[in-house]
């Protein structure tokens, strides 16, 4: 009878992978910094914050979930991928509340994509922390 090799994830760090995920969600790149991948963390921070900032400079809309519009809720889900940046934008009253032109629409997409990319980065840090992703 043939047997299958089973790959058992091995925890790579002493940190809780969920804590790494949460840190990466709150601050872009922080999850990677916590697992001692500082350069990657810095690159992720710069990339995600730059995309978010460019979106704001293009007068992109920072979505709120309370308007009742399904598209606003969907936009908020994307924005909330980088919840720390979203909170800073809301507290600082940055970003537009209405789309004004094509570039404003592009800016909104930059902000949403920055959030989605941050989710990818946070999950990547978690995967390295719990050993699911091989890292060399």
């Amino acid at each position: 009878m043939a047997t299958k090799a089973v790959i058992v994830p091995v925890k790579r760090t002493g940190l809780s992978p969920d804590l790494v995920l949460l840190a990466g969600w709150l601050v872009p790149g922080l999850g990677h910094v916590m697992i001692r991948k500082g350069i990657r963390g810095l690159l992720l921070f710069v990339s995600i914050v730059a995309m978010f900032a460019i979106g704001l400079l293009m007068h992109g809309k920072v979505y709120t979930p309370s308007t009742g519009d399904p598209l606003d809720i969907l936009g908020f889900v994307g924005d909330a991928g980088a919840i720390g940046l979203w909170a800073v934008a809301k507290l600082g009253d940055l970003g537009a509340t209405q789309l004004s032109d094509a570039f404003s629409d592009y800016g909104s997409k930059f902000i949403v994509v920055a959030g989605l990319l941050n989710v990818m980065a946070a999950v990547d840090a978690q995967s390295i922390a719990n050993g699911r992703k091989l890292d060399r």
């Binding site: 992720l44 730059a50 994509v113 091989l134 890292d135």
Partner: protein, 56 residues
């Protein structure tokens, strides 16, 4: 900022994140990031010309 500049910035930063998160070694990260960047640009140019020919 032109539309193409916006595209370049988008492709550049997204490619960095894709490279880091989708590959395991620094060398393969750089290669995959460069591939993504080229793919973004190529797709945008092809789609742009496609839209041009649809309109004309």
């Amino acid at each position: 900022m032109s539309h193409f500049t916006a595209l370049l910035l988008y492709a550049f930063f997204a490619s960095i994140v894709f490279g880091i998160t989708q590959r395991s070694t620094p060398r393969s990260m750089v290669r995959f990031g460069a591939l993504c960047f080229g793919g973004f640009l190529a797709a945008a140019i092809v789609v742009s010309w496609g839209m041009y020919f649809i309109k004309h």
